[in-house]
Amino acid sequence: MDFASKLIVDTCSAVAFDSFEVRGKKFLELLSKYFRIAATPELVEEAKRCKRSNKFSSENSHASLWIYQLSRCCGKRKDRTDWEGLSPILSGTPPEQGSLGEVSISWFAVGECVEDSNSLIIVTDDKKARNLLINELCDMFPQVTVLSSVELARAIIIKEIKSGKLTLDQSKSILHDLIASLASNTSLPKEEISFESLTANFIQLRSREIKKLKNAEKVIRNYEN
């Protein structure tokens, strides 16, 4: 385990990661090597629902193992999916049935902060959930950080570059593939993806991310010298 933080992954991001591989390894599998994965029962149910409706990738899906992993990670904390208690940080209309995953993530984050003082990374590409709830939560509890799936991937890729397992060119192509996977993942409702207009924003996202990756690689090299 390399990162000290706990990691909780929203289902829409898990779906995007499903067909994504780094060095021939499923990314979802790699995540548990770097982070302490956390989950809520509602997230497990949501992942099962997505698997049933074939939202995970059709070939070599890691969905079953991911669901198994999530089930094992569901801790002692009570699963809460009531939004009323979160109303002080809700900006906008209360979430619908489909957003219960984010509500349970939010309650989980609150529990981590107030009971165990753990730091927690929430991974989500759901712009609506971020605007409605999670950004406010991060503002309120500094132990909680929110990352997009691309940012999380970059964090892991940087680790792999540092350990000499990936070259910059390989990393660029991996990052490109994740963005392509997010872009072409038609099983995701468009409003759940945190990019407004698709192609233009994916091109911009790709350029930005690759630039950051290049800079990070330079800094790593300087650090090592």
Binding site: A183, N201, S207
Partner: protein, 377 residues
């Protein structure tokens, strides 16, 4: 100008997105147009496969350019030596679909569909009638080294074999269909698609009088920004096969179109298309941003074109006065032709329909107000 006259204006020619109509009018952008036509002529003289990359922001006129040259065959009109350029074929192709996992097969299917079996049959039948079939089939073999593909093209003129040929070209033939025209392999691998495309290209550009260099195929490949949706493996697969096709097709000009969101992204096309494709580009052309002069020229051409195609007799910029047109061009700010079309059409529609489509004209004092009102509407 009277409202009655304005109501007669034919604004159906002005569209936000280019249509498939037979005529695609061209406004403004004279330097850009000259540059494209000169580059196309250069490509014809090159006697080699030739790649052109045209880049610009969304709505700047890329699809319009492609359709204009595909449909109006303006190229032939604009050339100085018509005998040299009299025989070109243009094919318009959309970019790869987001969810397609076999982009090269998709490219193949689109070319086959655009060319059409009827056109191929007509060309092959003409070759046969002229007594050149053997030469032609030898040329196909020389290009593909594949007897099966030679068999297909030998059978194309025979209408009774249509179904067999069609199935094979779709990459989904039965053994019986293949046996029917003496084809052994299934022809459903990428290399088969490359070879069939080469044969199609050779057929289209074949000249019975032996001056085959006079004929050229233009592939107008739009929306290549969609390559951002392809994963590396798919991209590599496309690039490798496309290169093989392109490099062997000496009578081919590919015009690649790439859109991006803002001017700072010039150069991103090379990164997304990767060196595998961009190394084949002989000339890059950037779609210009409309400055004040450009806007004036674009608007003047647009307005005059509308007037020419309407039942109004008035000369000059309708419905604007010269002064208001100047004001419009100078105040309108950085807009793409698509946005200008939208504003113009919206203004006229508003006048025509009186109140059905309502812009709050009473509160509009500046062009910015107008744009804002249209965007909100």
């Amino acid at each position: 100008m009277k409202t009655e006259d304005i109501k007669k204006l034919n604004i159906s020619r002005i569209r936000e997105t280019p249509s498939n109509s037979k005529e695609i009018p061209w406004y403004g952008f004279n330097d850009y147009k000259n540059k494209i036509e000169q580059t196309l002529k250069d490509s014809m003289n090159s006697m080699k496969p030739f790649g052109i990359l045209i880049q610009g922001t969304w709505g700047a006129g890329k699809t319009h350019t492609a359709r204009h040259y595909c449909i109006s065959e303006a190229l032939n009109e604009g050339t100085t030596d018509s005998s040299l350029y009299s025989n070109t074929t243009s094919i318009y192709l959309e970019g790869p679909k987001v969810s397609n996992t076999q982009p090269f097969k998709e490219f193949f299917d689109r070319v086959v569909m655009s060319v059409g079996l009827r056109a191929l049959r007509k060309k092959c039948a003409a070759i046969k009638d002229s007594g050149n079939l053997d030469n032609f089939l030898d040329a196909i073999y020389e290009l593909t080294h594949d007897d099966d593909i030679v068999s297909i093209f030998e059978n194309i003129p025979d209408t009774s074999k249509d179904m067999h040929v069609r199935s094979i070209l779709k990459g989904a033939s039965t053994k019986k269909e293949r046996d029917g025209i003496g084809v052994v392999g299934k022809l459903d691998r990428d290399i088969d698609y490359v070879n069939i495309l080469l044969a199609i290209c050779r057929t289209i550009t074949w000249e019975n009088d032996g001056k085959s260099e006079q004929t050229r195929l233009f592939l107008w490949m739009d929306e290549l920004e969609n390559f951002v949706y392809l994963k590396s493996a798919q991209h590599q697969n496309f690039a490798q096969n496309f290169r093989q096709f392109f490099d062997s097709c000496e009578h081919l000009t590919c015009v690649l179109f790439f859109s991006f969101a803002n001017p700072s992204e010039f150069g991103v096309a090379e990164e997304i298309l990767s060196s595998a494709l961009t190394e084949r580009i002989n000339k890059k052309i950037e779609l210009p941003f409309l400055d004040e002069l450009g806007r004036n020229s674009y608007l003047t051409d647009l307005i005059n074109d509308v007037a020419r195609h309407s039942e109004v007799q008035k000369e000059g910029p309708i419905p604007f006065t010269e002064d208001s047109l100047k004001y419009f061009s100078s105040e309108i700010g950085e807009l793409t032709p698509r946005q200008i079309n939208r504003i113009y059409v919206r203004l006229i529609e508003n006048i025509i329909s009186d109140s059905d489509i309502s812009l709050p004209l009473e509160s509009i004092e500046t062009i910015d107000d107008l744009i804002e009102a249209i965007e909100e509407d």
